[in-house]
C-alpha cells in the first residue's frame, strides 16, 4: 500500500512537471534543431529519463536545471552523432506559433535560420540566453563551460548575426 501511494505521488509530481516544462524542453530542442519530429523525440526521451531520475532530484530548481541540461546534451549529441547541420531552408521551416507577437515575421524567420547556422555550442548558448533568458553564469553551469567562454561566444554570435542580417536587409539600427 505504501509503495502504491509513493508511486502515485511520484506520478502526480511527474505529470505536473511534464505539463509545466514541456514547452521549455521542446522549444530548446526545436530552436536548436529546427526539426519538429526529432525535437519531439528528444523531448520525450528527456521526460522519460526524468521519470526514472525524479526520486534523486531535490527541488523544483534542481529539476529545472536538470531538464535544461539533459535537453541541451541530447540535442547537441544528436547533431554531433548525425554530423549534420539542420535544414535551414526557410520554405521547409514552419515558423509561426499561434501567439504571434508583433514584428516582422520574415525577420524572425531569418534570425531563426541564422541561429541554426551557428556551431552547436554557440547555438545552444544563444537559445538559452534568448529563449530561456539565462544569464552567462547560468548558461555556463548548464553547459559545463567557463563563464568567460559563454560571454565571448555570445558576443561573437551576436556580432555575426548582426553582420549577416545587415548584409541582407541593410542597416536596421541593431
Amino acid at each position: 500500500m505504501v509503495n502504491v501511494a509513493a508511486e502515485a505521488a511520484r506520478q502526480l509530481d511527474f505529470t505536473e512537471l511534464l505539463r509545466e516544462h514541456q514547452g521549455m524542453v521542446f522549444s530548446i530542442a526545436y530552436h536548436f534543431l529546427r526539426d519538429r519530429a526529432v525535437s519531439e523525440e528528444i523531448a520525450q526521451e528527456v521526460f522519460l529519463q526524468l521519470y526514472k531520475t525524479l526520486p534523486s532530484l531535490e527541488s523544483p530548481a534542481h529539476v529545472l536545471y536538470w531538464l535544461r541540461r539533459a535537453t541541451c546534451n541530447r540535442s547537441i549529441d544528436y547533431v554531433r552523432h548525425r554530423r549534420l547541420l539542420p535544414k535551414v531552408n526557410l520554405d521547409d521551416a514552419p515558423e509561426l506559433t499561434a501567439a504571434a507577437a508583433p514584428g516582422d515575421p520574415m525577420l524572425s524567420a531569418r534570425l531563426r535560420k541564422l541561429v541554426t547556422s551557428l556551431p552547436p555550442k554557440q547555438r545552444m548558448m544563444v537559445v538559452l540566453r534568448y529563449q530561456e533568458d539565462l544569464d552567462p553564469e547560468e548558461i555556463a553551469h548548464v553547459l559545463n563551460v567557463p563563464v568567460g567562454t559563454v560571454k565571448s561566444q555570445l558576443q561573437r554570435s551576436l556580432a555575426m548575426l548582426r553582420d549577416k542580417i545587415e548584409r541582407t536587409i541593410g542597416e536596421m539600427n541593431l
Binding site: 526557410l90 499561434a98 504571434a100 520574415m106 524567420a109 541582407t168 536587409i169 541593410g170
Partner: protein, 176 residues
C-alpha cells in the same frame, strides 16, 4: 458515349480548377535572397484545421477563416537590392486578374518610391470567391492569393489578429 461525357466533364472540371490558380513568375525565388512559398490546397487546409486549437484565440480565428476556403498561396520575396524584379513581373500577375470576374478594390502606386499596393477580389453573383493582394517595395515583393468564399468582414478581421492592427475595409468599395 456516357463515358466520353464523363471524361469530358472531368477534364472540364480540372481545367476550371487549374484556371482558378494564378500563375506567378517562376524565377523570382532564384533572384531573391529570402523567399517564402506557401501552397495550401484544400486537403492541406483541412489537415491544418484538425490541428488548429479551438481554445487558442488566434488558432480558433484561423480555423474559422479557412473552414470554407479552397486554397491559399503566398509568395513572398526579399531581395538584397532594388531592381531585382521588374514591373513586368507584377504585370504578368495583374494581367490575369484584369476584367471580370476580378475587380480591383484598392490600389496605390508610387513610382517614385517604387511601391505598389493592390487588392483584387473575384466575385460571382455577389459572392466573393477569391482574393489577390500585391504588395511591392523596392526590395520586397509579395503575392497573396486566396481561393474560396471569403467574408469581407473576415478579411478586415484578419488584419486585427496575429499582431496586425485592423484594416478599415468597406466591402464593395472601389478605389483607383
Amino acid at each position: 458515349m456516357r463515358w466520353i461525357r464523363g471524361v469530358s466533364l472531368s477534364l472540364l472540371l480540372l481545367t476550371a480548377a487549374a484556371a482558378q490558380e494564378i500563375k506567378f513568375p517562376a524565377d523570382l525565388a532564384s533572384r531573391a535572397t529570402e523567399s517564402v512559398d506557401v501552397s495550401l490546397p484544400g486537403n492541406m487546409l483541412q489537415l491544418a484545421s484538425k490541428f488548429l486549437s479551438g481554445s487558442k484565440p488566434d488558432e480558433a480565428q484561423a480555423k474559422k477563416l479557412i473552414a470554407n476556403l479552397k486554397a491559399i498561396y503566398v509568395k513572398a520575396y526579399e531581395f538584397d537590392k532594388p531592381g531585382q524584379y521588374s514591373d513586368a513581373d507584377i504585370e504578368s500577375v495583374r494581367a490575369q486578374v484584369r476584367g471580370a470576374p476580378w475587380t480591383r478594390i484598392l490600389g496605390a502606386q508610387s513610382r517614385k518610391d517604387g511601391e505598389t499596393a493592390e487588392i483584387y477580389i473575384k466575385s460571382e453573383k455577389d459572392v466573393i470567391d477569391g482574393l489577390l493582394i500585391i504588395a511591392a517595395e523596392p526590395k520586397e515583393l509579395t503575392f497573396v492569393h486566396i481561393l474560396g468564399p471569403i467574408d469581407p468582414e473576415q478579411i478586415a478581421n484578419l488584419s486585427g489578429k496575429f499582431g496586425i492592427p485592423k484594416l478599415n475595409l468597406t466591402p464593395g468599395r472601389k478605389k483607383d
